[in-house]
């Protein structure tokens, strides 16, 4: 039996936009097992990013609980939550993923440094990761010198740096051309398969949805459907 890696119970989130309460999530239940490759789909404003933020501990639910790898992150104090994120969760955002003043090597190494990995091991791991995402030759390039697709690949490499159990990606291909998007997806799928990392990503992109083995659709902050499919 596979281990449950993400377990969300009755998660609701209400934002107050100009004094008007907006229900971003309503009683969402989610159960994801280790090694899954899950796409979170739905129209804009359906609550995809909000749900990812709740699972990643970037935001607190208004009600409900979230367990990640058996830890109730909704109860963790801020400092412990930051450490938990650092050790267990990798993030890939739509944009503004990398620290603009650092090179690819330094961006990836930064997370390792936060984990106090010794310099020698750090350098070895950074090179491995860049090779894995096919950007070893861009080791000393700053984000401004990389294409959008290359930046996202560096972001994936950075998300992997701390050897997390989960990678949460919020519309990772939204700003990419189809070739870069396909390339990124292939890398993510490969990592999922070879390193058993759980991927949960929100997307609008049909090509990305087709690569997923499980597709969860959110509509108006509620789970509308949860389908297991065979990726193309």
């Amino acid at each position: 039996m596979k281990k449950t890696i993400i377990d969300a119970h009755n998660v609701s989130k209400t934002y107050n936009e100009k004094m008007i309460p907006v229900k971003a999530l309503q009683d969402v239940h989610l159960h994801i097992e280790e090694g899954e490759f899950v796409a979170l789909v739905g129209p804009s404003g359906s609550g995809k990013s909000t749900l990812l933020n709740m699972i990643g501990g970037l935001d607190e639910p208004s009600s409900g609980t979230v367990f990640v790898d058996g830890v109730e992150i909704t109860k963790l104090p801020e400092n412990k939550l930051i450490d938990f994120r650092l050790e267990n969760i990798g993030f890939v955002f739509q944009s503004f993923n990398l620290i603009p003043v650092l090179t690819s090597k330094e961006n990836i190494g930064f997370v390792l440094q936060l984990q106090k990995v010794p310099k020698k091991d750090r350098e070895k791991r950074v090179l491995e990761l860049l090779q894995e995402v096919g950007l070893a030759e861009k080791i000393n390039s700053r984000p401004g010198e990389l294409s959008g697709g290359q930046q996202q690949r560096v972001a994936v490499a950075r998300a992997l740096a701390s050897k997390p159990k989960i990678i949460l990606a919020d519309e990772p291909t939204a700003n990419l051309d189809s070739k870069s998007a396909a390339n990124l997806l292939d890398i993510m799928a490969k990592l999922n398969k070879e390193e058993k990392i759980t991927f949960l990503f929100s997307t609008h992109d049909q090509r990305v949805i087709e690569k997923a083995r499980r597709v969860i659709t959110l509509v108006d902050g509620k789970v509308d459907s949860d389908i297991v499919q065979t990726p193309t």
Partner: protein, 405 residues
């Protein structure tokens, strides 16, 4: 790594960083320059007072200080003077006879202080010879010459070679009137004193007052180096135990007040300039934080805790300050060095300044302690200014920050 990120961050927007550095440089330079100018102004006044009026140390009969009557004399002042002149620490020493009196011209009369001086000995002290604008310095050898200030000459409506009558009381309390001829008209840097101080030969005044040549009302000693003041003061007190020995700060407490008020002035002026600097830094750093909301959100998401975010913003400001401070100090120091040697001519205000005893050429000067005070205040201000922007960064919620466009 945090240090590296902060350092590189400040060079992302070079214009903005140079604005902050420039503000620090200008703030520091302005503080230093204003303080050096003010100190130059006061120091000039103090030096003038000490060198030309008070000397470092004065010796009087204890009663003379209170009653200013010529009968309270220092006996054997000639022997004391020769002893003093032999001391290595002494640059110049002179004996004076002093009386209050009334000077009368054909048109008007006014109260004056008459100084009986030894011309040669006073060249290094009162410096009347340097301040003469008309006439020669006791060169005629006549005993009835009087030297008066330009302002007093105007008041009395008299010229060089005019005749005046000076009336005072002698040591027996008899009224004495004596006719003098104006041998010279002087203009010192202290116009208020020019109006009341007149100078005649000591010997002449001694005769009129009924004093012996060995008697004087005042012994004035100018030292080679002011640092010897305290030790010299103690030695003189032992040498003339029954006389009143006072240094220039005792004689003119207002000068000491000037120095004290200058220190207060240092903090006020610097404070005002640095307050303006605060607003500049707060504004710029806040802009820098608000521009990077998404990036800061991302940093928090990938594991940078709030303490590190706060440290990063503070480091950015610290780096800008550490660049700006030495440059500001250097520019300030060079300005003071250059202008301190060539002087700043503020002749346009000279009339007004001279009436308060200030020179029209100011030589800015500042001691090293004041440089450090200003630099440290600048550093503290910059760091305090960064707290609010850094605090704003702490209030960011990573999820909300990332959502922001």
């Amino acid at each position: 790594m945090l240090v590296q990120i902060a350092w590189r961050n400040i060079w992302r927007n070079k214009t903005r960083s140079f604005v902050v550095i420039g503000s620090i440089v200008i703030g520091l330079w302005a503080s230093i320059f204003i303080l050096a100018f003010a100190w130059g102004l006061y120091k000039n006044n103090i030096d003038e007072s000490v060198n030309r009026q008070l000397s470092h140390i004065q010796i009087h009969h204890p009663e003379f200080t209170h009653q200013q009557e010529s009968k309270f004399v220092i006996e054997h002042s000639d022997s004391i003077l020769s002893l003093l002149q032999k001391d290595d620490r002494v640059q110049a020493a002179s004996a004076r006879t002093i009386t209050k009196g009334m000077i009368t011209s054909p048109t008007t009369a006014t109260g004056v202080t008459v100084y009986g001086i030894s011309p040669a000995a006073e060249e290094k002290q009162i410096g009347l010879n340097e301040n003469l604008i008309e006439g020669d310095y006791f060169e005629s050898g006549k005993s009835n010459e009087i030297f008066i200030g330009e302002k007093l000459a105007k008041k009395l409506k008299i010229k060089l070679r005019s005749k005046v009558v000076v009336t005072f009381t002698d040591i027996e309390s008899n009224m004495v009137s004596a006719a003098f001829r104006v041998g010279g008209i002087y203009r010192s840097r202290n116009l208020s004193l020019d109006e009341v101080n007149v100078y005649v030969q000591k010997q002449s005044l001694d005769n009129l007052l009924g004093l012996k040549p060995s008697e004087s009302n005042e012994l004035a000693i100018l030292l080679k180096n002011e640092s010897a003041l305290d030790s010299f003061n103690s030695d003189v007190q032992l040498m003339v135990p029954h006389k009143k020995v006072e240094d220039w700060m005792d004689l003119s407490p207002e000068l000491e007040l000037v120095i004290e008020s200058f220190h207060l002035y240092t903090y006020i002026i610097t404070g005002i300039i640095l307050l303006a600097l605060t607003f500049g830094i707060v504004n710029t750093m806040l802009m820098s934080v608000l521009e990077r909301i998404r990036e800061l959100g991302m940093l928090m998401a990938i594991g940078l805790n709030k303490k590190k975010i706060f440290t990063m913003i503070m480091l950015e400001t610290l780096f800008l300050t550490l660049i700006g401070c030495p440059v500001g100090l250097l520019v300030g120091w060079l300005s003071v060095l250059v202008l301190g040697s060539i002087g700043i001519n503020i002749a346009i205000f000279s009339e007004g300044l001279a009436s308060y005893g200030f020179s029209s050429i100011i030589y800015p000067a500042l001691d090293s302690q004041n440089y450090w005070t200003v630099a440290i205040m600048c550093l503290i201000t910059a760091l305090l200014s960064a707290i609010y922007p850094a605090f704003r960064a702490l209030q960011l919620n990573p999820a909300e920050s990332i959502r922001k466009i």
